[in-house]
Amino acid sequence: MAYIIGSGSYLPGRPVTNEMLSEVFGDSIGLLGDYFEVVSRHFVVDYRTGDNINDENNSDFCIKAAQEAIQNTQIPKKEIGLIITCTNTPDYSLPQTSTLIQEKVGLKDVIPLDLRGGCSSPLQGVLIAESFIKNGLVENAMVVGGECFSTIYYKTLLKEKANYLVKDLMNGLIFGDGAAAVIISKNKTGNNAFAIERTVSQSSFSDWPSGLLIPLGGSKVKQLGVANISLGKLIRHVPKEIEPRLSKVTEIVFKKVHAENGYTLRDFKYVVGPQANKHLINSLNKRFKVMNSFYCGDITGNVPGAALLLAFDKLFRGYELKKGEKILMLGAESSKWIYGYSILNKV
């Protein structure tokens, strides 16, 4: 058995509200905010200029979240043997973000791994960490998720502000910057821990059309480094593909949870789903009659590699669960539709 024994998180700056964005992009923001039910998000850049004044980046968020998680668990740093970082917006292609965290947090000997699996990667991280612990390779692991979209995207969006398209602005409205971390341990320590009952991560629909692509950073983007790169080369959102397929994937996960564990949704105190926009999540909750959904993406923005961990951190530190109460974490990403779940049991 492995246990989540603590967490930490970091969101840069003050929340950027729809009203603040309306100052820059005009009244239509209200229309979009109402539709997507997004209230605020955090950007490391100044929403008026796109400048990253403090030169903070993804690894800085991850480091702060990791430090907080370590502080909250009081675990000696030397006992952490594995760092798994989940991000789609790393500082660099190389070095790995995990090694940047290792250096700044001050961990001597660790196995560093970076994962790039969108909103599903925190579950992949938990699955790998749990497996390393169960196989005796390490006793404690840290899974960190972080994203920094605004430095990639926001300045280009500002240039297009007079003629933006909804699909472009959606990225600025819906995605946010931030990080979260959890410590997973062989030993249950402290009074607030969750046993990881089962974690599953699967890719079964790689032939489906993508709902989201982040082309920048890959070697296929020929314009890398060109100043006037178009918005579609940075992040490409295809909302039409997302809603029906996310619904199908969610249905598959709920069926798997039942078939593999015998649980129905009523067996969980909270169901933490993908932290996509609230409009979409409400529609899924209505369709699948999820009455116990836990969601915070409307105030953090969608922070894919960190989203599930951020939601977990808010639950872990903000809500007192009783022994035996369970949380279902459900992950799904829309570039290649990797999905999965984790069942956590308060001990």
Binding site: L31, Y164, P239
Partner: protein, 109 residues
């Protein structure tokens, strides 16, 4: 053509709705459609028509706000589908908004 010219000429406004707002803004060429396939009464949100979704509807609303300076405001999904049912109904809706805006200016002056 500026927004006042469009708003004062129904025929030109309808052409703008079909060609610029719907065809170009929604990038229908990318779906293999030609501009001739968008007629005055093409059903925009029906499967027998263009089968647009609610985010496309939002794109149309934002396009009207950006280009014509009219405030569409929040529309319930049913109302949006009626107002944006066809290029002709969008055109009628734009003229309604223009009328409301004009009355609001008159009552404020």
């Amino acid at each position: 053509m500026d927004k006042n010219e469009l708003l004062n000429n129904k025929k030109q406004l309808l052409e703008w709705v079909k060609q610029e707002l719907i065809f170009k803004r929604l990038d229908l060429a990318n779906l293999g459609l030609s501009v001739e396939e968008v007629n005055d009464n093409t059903l925009l949100f029906e499967k027998v028509g263009l089968d647009l979704d609610s985010v496309d509807g939002l794109e149309l609303a934002v396009g009207i706000e950006q280009k014509l300076g009219l405030k569409v405001g929040s529309l319930k999904e049913d109302a949006a589908k009626t107002k944006f049912a066809t290029p002709q109904s969008i055109c009628d809706f734009v003229l309604e908004l223009q009328l409301v805006k004009g009355q609001s200016h008159t009552s404020n002056s």
